[in-house]
């Protein structure tokens, strides 16, 4: 195998795939990237057995062939080469190492045979569904902060992507929850989504997909099966296993009858919460909201660190009451509200609260209150 490639193209492709590779691997070949030189270009694949990213880059291929080499080392080398460099990669039978040369630099890296590299099968994947890149970015950004990291409920460690409704009103919906808060975002279901199984896409996959979306074109293509999901971003593609479990019936925890509605300027609210939370206890991060007609009084009382109070205006005309929340959860939600105003819908201090974005009817947030 022998090819020359521009540094910029090489670093982009390697950058796309290398972050899948775990820093520590018990299976040596999983530390490697698979290089496959064909006519007109080279494809790069990396995998952690749960997820695989493949990217393709134009190159001047002299001798087609395949080999695997350490992904992080290769990426670091290429990163440190001068801008605009032409890089030659060569693996010939006479030297059992991968030679990388650019200008006066020469490197030899150990290799492992390409035949041993695990390739993820694409059996059972559905037909391609075309999605607007920005729509998918929106679904992910609005929800991924609520994905659980707690391993006991492994089925919450991902983003639940599924369709609801039928015909023209069908929606493609993303839901994430960790049991303390829930985020839901939906969009009009693109063509071809009906009958596609709902899948729980692992947190790491969402993170990688979000990174690749930055470099994607206007649209991306989605394929789904009961056990896998694949996204095609122009020349790069990501294939991942999905979490084998059933996502809980989240509709039951989204309150429908909360009748105490409060509207507040979200940036003012977020800044105030952030300020008073400075002295909240590390663990609970509890903030008390005393709500009365026309105003909210935020209070944090911490035995060790003191007390903080801040008052702010809001639109509210029902009975006064007090409710507590984790400040970080409030800030996470506030960070996702696009418009100026957010609407809080409360029932009572012990029941889940619904938070809505006045400018985006396609998102909903649910927060479980803390006891204050």
């Amino acid at each position: 195998m022998k090819f020359t490639i521009e540094r910029a193209a090489l670093i982009k492709a390697l950058g796309h795939v290398q972050s899948v590779v775990e820093r520590r691997n018990t299976i040596p070949i999983l530390s490697n990237v698979l290089l496959s030189a064909e006519r007109g270009g080279v494809s790069f694949s990396a995998t952690d057995l749960d997820m695989e990213i493949v990217d393709f880059a134009d190159a001047n291929v002299d001798t087609p062939g395949q080999i695997t080499a350490p992904a992080h080392t290769l990426y670091e080398i290429v990163r440190k080469l001068p801008e605009g460099a032409e890089v030659e990669l060569r693996y010939a039978g006479d030297d059992p190492r991968l030679q990388i040369s650019a200008g006066r630099s020469k490197f030899n890296l150990p290799v492992l045979p390409a035949g041993d590299f695990p390739v993820m099968s694409s059996d059972g994947l559905s037909a391609r569904i075309t999605l607007d890149t920005n729509d998918l970015i929106r679904l992910i950004d609005k929800t991924r902060f609520a994905i659980s990291t707690e391993e006991t409920r492994y089925y919450l460690n991902g983003l639940y992507l599924h369709t609801v409704g039928e015909g023209a009103s069908a929606q493609l919906r993303a839901v994430a929850t960790d049991g303390h808060r829930l985020a839901l975002a939906e969009m009009i279901a693109p063509e071809g989504t009906t009958g596609v199984p709902g899948v729980i896409v692992p947190r790491k996959t969402i993170q990688e997909a979000r990174r690749l979306l930055d470099d994607a074109g206007e649209t991306v293509e989605l394929q789904v099966s009961a056990s896998k999901v694949r996204l095609q971003f122009g020349r790069a593609s990501l294939t991942s296993k999905v979490i084998d479990g059933s996502f809980p019936d989240y509709m039951r925890v989204i309150p429908r009858d909360n009748d105490k509605s409060l509207t507040v300027n979200i940036s003012v609210f977020a800044a105030a919460v952030d300020r008073v939370a400075t002295i909240s206890a590390e663990k609970s991060r509890s903030v008390k909201m005393a709500i009365e007609p026309g105003k909210i009084v935020l209070t944090v009382r911490n035995m060790e660190a003191g007390q903080a109070v801040e008052e702010l205006e809001c639109e509210y005309d029902r009975d006064s009451f007090e409710i507590g929340f984790n400040a970080r959860y409030l800030l996470d939600v506030a960070g996702q509200i696009q418009g100026e105003a957010a609407e809080f819908r409360f029932a009572d201090p012990a029941s889940p609260t619904l938070v809505l974005d006045a400018s985006d009817p396609g998102v909903q947030y649910v927060l479980m209150p803390l006891r204050v």
Partner: protein, 424 residues
């Protein structure tokens, strides 16, 4: 000048010649070089359930007694006379009755055993705050630093409490005294029944070396097999092995094996040691195949486990379903629950799903349900998905209250009536 203790009159002094108590002439002497220094003890009741039954029915004193349930059940405990005949605990009842047909079989009465257990544990609690009960009839004690309080060594205190238990409850216990929990537990088994054995730190390694690896805690038949394949038959083999090799082969447990094989065990006697699981199981009179029949047996077990969880204010994060096939294979299936539970409803919902995957035509002779990964029960719901659990808990609590007031049969779920029909 080996320290010696008389187990009948509690005389202490240097080892007498001939070996009889110089005060009461009893031959029941404990002689050990480290007798005055060892403070960790394991106390184990001798054939506990059977002994309680024999005490209450003196006419059975010289007859074999088996405590266990039903025609299809297993032996829970058997007295020493039955043991002479070859009966062992956990043996299927039909087999036990084949080798010892003259045995009297008594159904276990756990309320009675619990009462007796409490009487014994209370006596131990008066000796030291560091009592770690292992079950109804076993406990570890740490008597370190109690010599001045009791005016005698740990060995002396133990010999006295052992005699005191026997006089007061009519039950005998065996004591193991050693330098740590692991050795104490082995020691208590050496001289049963009514025994008192000591394993000193100095002789621990030599004592353990020739024994099979299966005496180490955590080494069951399967692990014993893999150890044998790796070349470790006896504890001595493990003691000789490089701890690093053991660690690489068997992971974290390899290191512990290495330490245990050297007679070392750093675990403290921990009175707050939490229970690992709460479970209940039942063996059927006839093998069951139908999902519905199995579910009917499962529900009362879920209720039982849930009631225990509520009583002790703990909740289980994981439900474990256990099935025994007709060829005595044990199948266990576990699943993490959405929220830690204290209700039969939640346990049953998960267990029946697990069961559905297993009950596909196979016949079973036993079913069991357990709750593990126990946590302290939470107060009001702080989790979005705890709403169902909170509602189920409310109704379960209401039923508990009715039962406390009007008796266990005061209120029952409809499902329970199928296996526990009311007699009008």
């Amino acid at each position: 000048m080996t320290p010696t203790l008389c187990r009948d009159c509690f005389w202490t002094g240097p080892e007498p010649q001939p070996r009889r108590c110089p005060r009461c002439a009893s031959p029941r002497l404990v002689v050990h070089a480290e007798l005055d220094r060892l403070t960790i003890a394991h106390m184990d009741c001798d054939a506990f359930y059977a002994s309680v039954e024999k005490r209450d029915r003196p006419e059975l004193r010289d007859l074999p007694v088996i405590v266990g349930g039903g025609k299809r059940g297993v032996v829970t405990t058997c007295c020493y006379i039955a043991r002479i005949n070859g009966v062992r605990s956990a043996m299927p009842m039909f087999k036990a009755l084949k080798i010892c047909p003259q045995a009297t079989v008594i159904k276990p009465d756990f309320t009675k055993y619990r009462t007796e257990s409490r009487r014994i544990m209370d006596k131990l609690a008066r000796l030291t705050p560091l009592v770690q009960p292992l079950s109804l009839d076993e406990a570890w004690l740490d008597l370190t630093g109690c010599e001045r309080l009791h005016g005698g060594t740990a060995a002396w205190v133990l010999a006295r409490v052992q005699a005191d238990i026997e006089t007061d409850t009519g039950l005998t216990v065996s004591v193991g005294l050693a330098a740590n929990k692991f050795l104490a537990k082995i020691a208590s088994d050496l001289d049963k029944p009514r025994g008192f054995s000591v394993i000193g730190a100095a002789e621990a390694k030599a004592f353990l070396a020739p024994r099979p690896v299966s005496i180490l805690p955590g080494v069951g038949p399967a692990f014993q097999k893999s150890l044998a394949i790796a070349g470790y038959q006896t504890v001595g083999d493990l003691a000789k092995a490089d701890p690093k090799t053991l660690a690489t082969t068997f992971g974290v447990y390899g290191l512990r094996l290495s330490q245990l094989a050297q007679g070392q065990d750093a675990r403290a006697v921990d009175p707050d040691q939490e229970r690992k699981s709460v479970s209940a199981e039942t063996t059927f009179n006839d093998d069951l195949t139908q999902v519905g029949d199995l579910e009917d047996e499962l529900w009362p077990l879920c209720e039982k486990v849930a009631r225990h969880l509520r009583k002790d204010a703990i909740a289980g994060r994981v439900a474990v379903l256990k099935l025994r096939t007709t060829d005595f294979r044990i199948i266990t299936r576990r699943r993490t629950l959405a929220v830690p539970t204290q209700t039969a409803k939640a346990l049953f919902a998960v267990a029946r799903e697990l069961l559905a995957a297993e009950a596909k035509g196979a016949a079973y002779r036993l079913i069991g349900i357990g709750a593990t990964e126990l946590v302290e029960a939470l107060g009001p719901a702080s989790d979005l998905f705890a709403g169902d659990e909170a509602r189920a808990l409310k109704s379960a609590r209401a039923m508990d209250a009715l039962r406390d007031k009007f008796g266990a049969d005061a209120v029952q779920s409809g499902r329970a009536l199928k296996t526990n029909p009311r007699t009008p």
